[in-house]
Structure formats: C-alpha cells, structure tokens
Symmetry: C2
C-alpha cells in the first residue's frame, strides 16, 4: 500500500534516491539515507518483490519439482535444497507433482510462468523433449534421477553400485538366495537398483533368478504386499534386498504379521538411509544416500548455472554408504 513514491514525497526526495537508499546502494548522502530509512519505517513501507522482479528480470526464486513429499526421502532432500537457497537469499518453490506425468508438465509450465530463475528436477518423465521445451532458457539441474536432457547438470548417486554393496553385504554374511522387492517399473532408479542386485549375485557366481523379484511401489504398502506374497516362499531365499527403505519398512510389517523373525529367519537390507531406519524394529541395514548433501549440492550447482553465462554441465556422483543395522545377519537356515 505504501510505495517508494509515498516514501519519496514524504522525505522530499526522488524515488531513485529512495530505491538506492533502501537497497544500501552507494551514491546517496549519509543524511539522506538516514532520513529515507526513518520515513520508510514510519510509513511502514515494505518492499514489493513482484515489482522488483519485473524490473530486475530475476525472481531470486528456484523451484524443486518432486514426486512425493510424503516419502521421507524427499523432505530431507528439500532441506538440503532449502539450505542452499537460504544461503543465497533465494526462495524455494516446491512443486509436488506426484508421479503423474501430466501434472508434472503443468507444474513445470506454471513454474516457467512464475519466472523462477532455475529448476531442480526429480523426475524421469517419458517425454524428455517436452520437458526440455518447457525449460528452454532456464537453468535446470537433475536430481537423484538421471535426466536424458544433456543440457542439465546432474547430481545423484550410483544406484547400481549402491545396490551391489547391499547385496554383497548379504552374500558376505553367507546368504546365497536373495530376493528383491523392486520399485515401480516406470522409474529408472528401480531398474538401476535391480541391476545392481543382479550384478552382485552374478559376480558371486550366484543366479539372479527373476522369480525372486517381486515388484513394489517405493511405499510401505508395496513392501507389505510384496512381503505377504514372498513370505509364502520362504524356502526359496534367506534374505531380501528392498528397493528402498519404505519398502523395507513395509516388508518388516509383513514379517511381523506373519510372525517371521528378522533377521533370524530372513535378513533385510534397504536403500536410501532415511532417518527412520534407525528407529525401526529391528533397525534397518541400508545403503545410505547423502540425502541432505544431494539436495544442497543440487542447489549450489543450480546457482552456479544461474549466475554463469555459459555454464558447464557437470555430473556429480556422491558416494553411498552401507549402514549396517540389526536387520541383516548370517542365515540361520538354508533356503
């Protein structure tokens, strides 16, 4: 309601001086600055970022598009990005597109209209061309999931390698038959982790039998359902590698409901390293991603891209770490 014009006339100066004074820019007399500041506070002036953005052609806002804020992996990631944004005094705009491809595109278009300065994408949308079209001209960083778009920097982990570590850990414990509860087929990450599972088995001279793969959803229910199915065939395996921690949590619940002891009757390893894994019963062995860092790094990369005229595309792979909890142990029985 009160604008620079009001402040200017009340202080008896021009709006140019007001703008400069209120932004701490040089070229205004000390006394003038003080007067303007005083008047501004008296009048209760508050800057209008919309007007500023229109004028400066930058909104100091970046966006993060993610599939499911409800999966605890993402809030942690959000914190990382948020921190990066805060450090640069930028605002973070969240778009929770779900895994819905259409909503994703609509959200992306809305962000473009909002004139965000850059976008961090967690998605493997089937139509990369459309995505690239919409994001044309605005810096993009792909997070966690790979983006076909070569125009974007990528930060993530090596999911295959992580999965291999998980399975190798089980093999080392003595397991020979290891089942896998996979993620949704449409998500690239699912395929990577499954591939890692198969590789680790094969490297150990064991068969990666597709009968031992059940599909999940990356959510608890998926792990639970998969568990109910697979627990009927406990004679075929002694351990389970779940595609992510939520799946593992669901599997634990299935075990509990069937009275199957973890890790005595079946060992379990998850993936992600969400905070919750330290508080499940038993605590979960998992391949931890540096979640916060992933988000933070993605933010930093994005800001570099924003402030550089011709940004180089980088691909940054952060290390995963096997965290051994109480859900994995040597097999007490043979499959």
């Amino acid at each position: 309601v009160v604008t620079v014009y009001d402040v200017a006339s009340a202080a008896g100066v021009s709006i140019a001086s007001v703008s400069r004074a209120l932004n701490g820019q040089p070229g205004v007399g000390r006394a003038t600055v003080e007067k303007i500041q005083r008047v501004a506070t008296e009048l209760g002036w508050s800057p209008n970022d919309i007007a500023r953005s229109l004028s400066e052609k930058t909104t100091r806002t970046i966006a993060l598009v993610l599939p499911d804020i409800t999966n605890p992996f993402f809030p942690e990631l959000v914190k990382g990005v948020q921190t990066a944004a805060d450090e640069r005094h930028n605002t973070l705009l969240l778009a929770n597109s779900g895994e819905d491809a259409e909503k994703f595109l609509r959200d992306l278009e809305a962000l473009r209209r909002k004139q965000v300065d850059g976008v961090i994408l967690i998605s493997d949308h089937p139509d990369q061309t459309r995505v690239a079209e919409i994001c044309a001209g605005i810096p993009v960083v792909a997070l966690d999931r790979d983006l076909g778009d070569p125009g974007a920097s990528v930060v993530g982990v090596d999911h295959e390698e992580g999965a291999r570590k998980a399975v190798a850990h089980l093999i080392e414990l003595g397991h020979r038959r290891i089942a896998h509860i996979a993620g949704p087929a449409a998500i690239e990450v699912s395929a990577r982790r499954r591939a890692g599972w198969a590789q680790a088995l094969e490297e150990a001279g064991l068969a990666a039998r597709s009968e031992l793969v059940v599909s999940g959803t990356f959510l608890e229910e998926g792990g639970f359902e998969a568990g109910l199915q697979i627990l009927d065939r406990l004679d075929e395996f002694t351990a389970v590698f779940a595609a992510n921690d939520l799946t593992a949590v669901g599997f634990l619940a299935a075990c509990a409901s069937r009275g199957v002891q973890v890790p005595h009757e079946v060992s379990l390893v998850g993936f992600d390293g969400i905070h919750l894994t330290r508080y499940t019963t038993p605590t979960l062995t998992t391949v931890a991603q540096p979640i916060f860092d992933l988000g933070h790094r993605a933010g930093e990369l994005l800001f570099e891209a924003i402030s550089t005229e011709d940004p180089v595309k980088v691909k940054e792979i952060l290390p995963t770490r096997l965290v051994v909890g109480a859900s994995s142990a040597a097999p007490r029985r043979s499959a």
Copy 2:
C-alpha cells in the same frame, strides 16, 4: 523473451486485444482470437505471471509456514493445502521455518514481500504482536496450533479431548499407571495433550503423577531417549501415552533395544495418525487427526478470507479418531 507486444505486432493487433484473447475474455472477434492464439504459439509466447501479478495486485499464491517438513505429519498436511490450492489454481509456497522463532519472522517478512495473497500459519510464536504486524493486511489462517491472534481463523483438533481418548482407552484396557512422554515445552500442543492425559487419569480417579511425565521432542530421538530413561522404572507404570507418533516410534525402538515387549510388557498409544503407524512393529494405537482434511480445510478457509471483503473468523475443530493398533493391550503385569 517474447511478450504481448511481439504477439501484437506479429498479429497486427493491439496488446489489449492480445491480452484479452489470450485470457479468454469476451470482446474479441472469433477470427482475431484465433489469429492471436496461432501467432502466440508460433512465437512461443508464455505468460509472465510476475507482470500479471503486478498489474492485477494478486499473486494467486498462498503460503504455508511450517516448523519441520521432516516430521511426516506435515507432508500429509501439505498435501491437503496443496490440493486446496490446486483446486483454486493457486500456487502454494512453503516456508520451512523450523521451530526457530527468528527465522520464522524473517520467513514471514519474505512472504509478505513476495505479496502472497494469504498465509497459513503453523506456529505459536511467542511474539504474537510482531506476527500480527507482519501479517497486517493479509489474510491468515492458523493451522493445528492455536494462534493468539483473534484476527485469524483457526482449524485444528481438540488436543485435550484426543489425549483423553488415548488415555481412556488404556484405562479401559485395565491400565492404572500410565506414563506420558511429552512434547517440547515451548509448544502449546504439548501442554494440551499433557493436560488431556492428566484429565483422563483424574476422571478415572487415578493420580496424574508428574514423575510419570518425561519430556520428548516430537521426534524419534526424543521418544527413544525418554524410553531409555523411563524403561528403568518399568515397575511404576504399565502403559505409555506418547505425545505424538514419532515419539511413539522412538519409544518402540527404545523398547526393542531394551528387550521390552510391546504391548506385553508395556502398552503404547501415540497421537497424530501418521501413515507410518500402520507399519510399525507392532502397529501403533494412535489418536488420528484428519491430517489431509485439516490442511485442505485450512486452504479453503484461507481462500474464503481472501475473496471476502470482511471475512468472518471461524474456529473449526475437526474430530480425532482413536485407531486401535497392536501396541495396546490389557496389562499382563501390575505396576
């Protein structure tokens, strides 16, 4: 890059017609509209919401300020608000202030500068006056936590009543000594739930002994720590009412680490009804809040306030529901 001016000159019309045509407003010839639309797509025109907002004096953006996106209660709430925003074709801006009072005020100021049309607040900031000052002139809805500010509508649940239900349930099962792991002292909701705990005990003619109250943090670690403390005094109680589900999850972990069986040796009830409670071992008895609805309703109320000149302040209390899981049972031992 391409503006209405470009479209206008390319189509041989005025920017007024372009604006009207592109916004589907009446008063433009059918043929003209078509031509303008064609030219706009050819040129790859995309609306600039910043300019529109400056002109229209509305951003079609609402903000939600919350303490901790990492607590699974909030993402679910976010979904509710998000849905309400989507329904109105508004954008939701999230501010994750933490429980940090200073950051909260800074965030609020940033939102004001961003010219959001309204704000949903989850907070009980000590300095309500400051909050009211910053929010002056913009519609506010208080969510989940009560806001001293009488200028805002409130939507939430009756925490005392909910807590009473939890404790009454335990009493009904036969428990007589019920401990409580409280939330952070600074949060009003903690006090309410604790009061409910005390009331239920007293109504049943039992003593609400303050020695049976341990403080937590609303996070897993708090419940875990509290559990380690209190489990040394298992002879003093047979059941625990945790201030929220995350606390209960932490307590379960403490029980597991101490080898204490739930519910055989100690019963447990949580509060919130987060999704996870269905997948803990054992599944958690809890007082479920209609989380999604709370968020959705807050959004609706906010939009009403935004679109009404003189909005009435309402206080909407949504019902909680006791969900009986496997963590509560009749006491097998006497305290």
